[in-house]
């Protein structure tokens, strides 16, 4: 079990992001376009408000975002 022992950190996880956020399903729908905008240096958060806050509240979606960004920014040697 990965307990978080710093009360401040624990509290932040309990209360989640303060900004409005999308849910996991909307996050998944928008993720591919969002990541391509990020890579193009375009303000992805302006086009898809609520994703950045969702990444702060949802470690699973954040990991998948980070992976997709890493995968296509390497433009993988496929």
């Amino acid at each position: 079990m990965t307990e978080r022992r710093d009360p401040h950190d624990q509290l932040a996880h309990v209360l989640g992001p303060s900004a409005p956020e999308v849910g996991c399903d909307a996050c998944f729908e928008q993720l591919d376009r969002y990541v391509e905008l990020e890579l193009a240096g375009i303000d992805a958060d302006a086009s898809f408000p609520g994703l950045r806050a969702h990444f702060a509240g949802c470690p699973a979606c954040r990991e998948e975002h980070d992976s997709l960004l890493a995968l296509i920014s390497g433009d993988a040697p496929f």
Partner: protein
Amino acid sequence: MSTRPLPTLEGVTSPPHAGARAPTTGLDPESREWLRCLRADGDRDPCIARLHHLLLRAARFEVARRKASFAYLRGDDLDDIAQHAADDALVSVLRRLPDFRGDSRFTTWAYKFALLEASVKLRKRSWQGRELPLEPDVWSLFASDDPSLSDAAEQAELLSAVRRLIAEELTPHQRSVLIALAVNGVPIDVLAARLNTTRGALYKTLHDARRKLRARLEQQGFSTQMEDAT
């Protein structure tokens, strides 16, 4: 390159109806070619095999990123996870093909299914056989091993208010979901499988619980503007 047979794709391999096709204008040539070959009326097998190969590379990419956490797994086991992830992602991609709107490149869109399948499988694997803490001890929340972090005077009141609200204001379901996900670090997909629900439904429960806590805290005069979790 895998020599395993491709997964059974019953019900998802027939080309989507023309009416369901997304517009292909404005697509880059590579994406257009993917759509053309996946929607072809003739033999789509070579194209589907290429797609599976692409998804497998993405699933392996994810497994490689996370493999440090799986030192106890053999390489074969990890590759098996990647293979299954690619199989499941292939089914999803073909089923969802009519939804592809060309907002991104086709490959970027397809990759996300492979990364999702691989990361869900890895999370489940990492919690396999572990008991989920579903009946949390709310009153020990925010206790710290490190006295320098423990209930600094200005925070003590806030922490105790949050503890009380979790115990008294949340429903039992909200409470156990919140503690499992946000305190005990149970991966959301693991909890979703255990509770026979979906990631989206579970996150909504978590979100509602968090909103309720923030609203009550503000009613009680606490500021809940803090830095987001790292």
